[in-house]
Symmetry: C2
């Protein structure tokens, strides 16, 4: 893993200052674990969502997106198990009343995993290790289970108990029958959803990592149990290299991920079936599109104690970042757990016909945490020290704007020409216009929010219809003819050509003496 000297607090400060992501209700002191995303954050998140839809919905023909209710009634969570088991062990300081997760305190003290210990075991460790309140050294209460769902009441006096959904997946199971019938779906098919989920974390932390309100992008892929190792398009991804850390490797303290193709991993039994391997391979492609270096991510098989009893396999995508390893995608093989539970509790048949027989399909669930993915993107693309300002080296297609258009001066007809070009560019690209302040400051402001290219209209433009393009990453400028501008920008933004290639193919000489200075 590369050592990274970047200070995460500094990045968070930048995210706040540039209104990219900042505490909700900030002027009232905020509310821990809930964030607002400002204009630049919102644009980048929209592009991540589009990338995801492109790869996981539109590129497939049998994945349907839905948009479900966030407030769901109590019986849903009785059936799903959330009401009984979706909790964390809570301890409170008897003196200062601060609250902590008992397992986190035990882990911090013993250095060993504690997330699967029972309440009594945790209490035993607290006594044995004499663990005290980290804030005031006061004594801790005996741990108790704290349910992580936000509860409310729907309707007036004596209304119905309802909960904010703790995962978007539940709507999908609830809608399985309705959607599969209406869409005439046949196995295998998927239902996807992008939306908010809510967890009343005891101790939200790590900025956008452990949030109380967060956005998930989830797919439940419904598959005939006998076809789980038979994905119809497996051949399309079987050569995709992936990086794995299996249970066995973890037991053997092997930290370097195994590089293997998706096809080989299934053949060797490292990934339990083709459907899960298909998603792991596509997630590897997705992470590459995010611009994460290959060395910095891997899929870790969860240990038995980390895996829900109904899940036959779990692989988490983990990414190395300046703030440590962040898990941002989970893959679970939930088998028929959810549909069977909901079928039983709702007394509804949740089957689908397959070769004229009713089947309860199995479920493969790839679950993406949008906020974490977005945060990782900002963390790993953050650049500081090389310029007077910090900047984000975002992949051009994920930048909030593709291009900034500037007139060199606010006079002599340059703004008019620049506006005209801007209006043309924005028909096809995400463009922003800026004529305020010195050109250097305008480039710096473009860097600060990750805009990859700036196009400047100068006096030479008026003479020979050439403009300059400035490259964010190298800070170099070249001059191109306006007729080539669209092609050049498209090539650069889609990463179909490098800056060096563009320089070689499209750059024209400046007719001015000042040309040397422009670089």
């Amino acid at each position: 893993m590369p050592e990274n000297e970047i200070n995460v607090d500094e990045i968070n400060e930048v995210l706040i200052k540039r209104a990219i992501a900042f505490p909700a209700a900030e002027i009232y002191g905020g509310i821990a674990g809930i964030f607002d995303f400002g204009p630049i954050g919102t644009l980048i998140r929209q592009k991540v969502k589009e990338l995801w839809r492109n790869m996981f919905i539109w590129a497939e023909e049998n994945v349907f997106e839905i948009e479900g209710g966030l407030l769901l009634p109590e019986p849903v969570f009785k059936a799903s198990g959330h009401l009984d088991t979706f909790h964390d062990p809570l301890v409170q300081c008897e003196k200062c009343k601060s609250m902590f997760r008992a397992d986190h305190l035990v882990e911090d003290t013993t250095g060993e995993r504690a997330d699967s210990l029972a309440l009594e075991e945790l209490w035993g460790k607290i006594i044995e290790q004499e663990i005290k309140c980290p804030k005031c050294k006061g004594s801790l209460t005996e741990p108790r289970q704290f349910n992580l769902m936000f509860e409310t009441e729907v309707g007036a006096t004596g209304g119905k108990k309802a909960y904010l959904r703790p995962e978007t997946a539940q709507n999908i199971f609830l809608d399985f029958r309705r959607v599969s019938h209406a869409m005439r779906a046949t196995l295998p098919f998927g239902i996807a959803q992008i939306g908010r989920s809510f967890r009343n974390e005891i101790a939200p932390r790590n900025y956008l990592v452990r949030m109380r309100e967060f956005t998930q992008m989830e797919i439940e892929m419904f598959v005939h149990p006998e076809q789980i190792n038979n994905h119809p398009y497996f051949y399309m991804i079987e050569d995709q290299p992936i990086r794995l850390i299996t249970r066995k490797m973890q037991a053997e303290q092997e930290k370097e991920p195994l590089e293997i193709t998706a096809g080989e991993a299934v053949k060797q039994g490292l990934i339990p079936n083709q459907f899960m391997a298909y998603y792991i391979a596509k997630e590897a492609q997705f992470v590459e599109e995010l611009g994460i270096p290959r060395d910095n991510y891997w899929f870790r098989e969860l240990l038995e104690e980390e895996t829900a009893h109904y899940s036959a396999a779990n692989f988490d995508l983990e990414i190395q970042t300046p703030m440590g390893v962040i898990e941002c995608i989970g893959n679970a093989y939930r088998q028929d757990y959810d549909l069977s539970k909901h079928s039983k509790h709702s007394k509804t048949k949740l089957t689908i016909q397959y070769e004229n027989k009713p089947v309860v399909p199995h479920v493969i669930e790839p679950s993406f945490g949008l906020d974490r993915i977005f945060y990782i993107l900002m963390l790993v693309t953050y650049q500081a020290g090389d310029r007077k300002w910090s900047w984000f080296k975002l992949p051009p297609y994920l930048a909030p704007y593709h291009v900034k258009v500037c007139p060199l001066q606010k006079k002599d007809g340059l703004p008019e020409v620049a506006r005209e070009l801007f209006e043309e560019l924005r028909e096809e690209l995400d463009a922003i216009y800026d004529q305020t302040g010195s050109i250097g400051k305008r480039y710096a402001r473009a860097d600060e929010i990750g805009i990859p290219f700036s196009v400047t209209i100068d006096y030479e433009t008026l003479e020979n219809e050439t403009v300059t393009i400035r490259d964010r990453d190298s800070t170099e400028q070249i001059r191109v003819h306006v007729d080539d501008l669209f092609e050049v920008l498209h090539l650069l933004i889609n990463a179909d050509a490098t800056w060096e290639e563009i320089k070689g193919s499209f750059a024209v000489e400046s007719s001015k003496k000042s040309k040397g200075k422009r670089k």
Copy 2:
């Protein structure tokens, strides 16, 4: 208003059956006022959102979109006034315990507006008119105020009270300072948000009209108080015709809306300022894009008793639909109410520099109800009776898919050619492939979800590279050359050419004898 014989219950049934919009947690009996949107509903809603973003964010350069937290802490709503005044008068039946809105019961009995009556006045009417429980004729309790916000607790034991936001606007006011600074915004500028809001309605009703969980698309436009009648781009919309029902017209029982241009309406003082007129004019354009006939909508000035004390003017967009008049966009001139309140309660300066002086801007708020707009779209485009199946005459650019691609038969190489064409089409258009069942059934299924065009690959395609295009609205088919197909579809989808024009310019003769039958 046109009389419409369409049965709304029938349309709702269709929305459920085709999984377009249906009750959330339906298999558990649902939860009143909360809905899930299935694949087709989600696609259509995405297009409505895109249309809105195009017209109200991307077409402007000074409107910034944010994405804020849904759970906000109590002090926010203390300041906004929601905690003290966001309530409805509730009565309960002493016998069957059913709950009702007192003002609705009084209105239903007296035929007069009751939404601004005080609790004592409502109680007086209930006694005077001897109003009983509409369900069981039992006696009603004295009305009390019921707050419409959903309450929950954030954090463990003794956590903080928080509420699900009742409008997306609040995040915008809370983020005003942070966003305006970061974006170097100068007056006038806007902050926009698309997102869920929540109201614990006593009696949700009218399907997607009065919901407990709904999606808003809101803009708060911040304007210098002295510039409120001076919109920099007013000239762009001043000739836009709008239809108004003013307070004076309502007092005079005048029901036919006044047709007037936006510019003239401001000049005559019918709309209080250019900023509000600008949005009303753009909303008229938006509604036209939705395909609503001009006769079926108008902007109604709210009466004094309908207007919040802090609002200097309110105009609601109302649309005539098969289920009656639905209000789906509200425009309010909130002045400096929100920023002043939040500034005082949070002890934060919420001003912006204007010509080197701090100003508390005034606010014009256009607020769009996505669910209502979506529902209106489905209600007014619903067609029944002319075919064996019901269908939706959606504008092509708002349809879930632009085009369905079908091989005439599932043999003789037709599917391969159709797939290839489909793959090409979906690069640029929202296309769906269908080879299941008879071609007639496939066209019917396209109609049922509003797909405007179906392209069929038949034996003639193999000979001369022509395909048929079927038009949903006329059910006519023409044959065009594959080379013209993209152009034809683009023209049709963007409504740049009518079906008749396409027939005149692009249709080719079939070389088969069967040609006559195809129409």
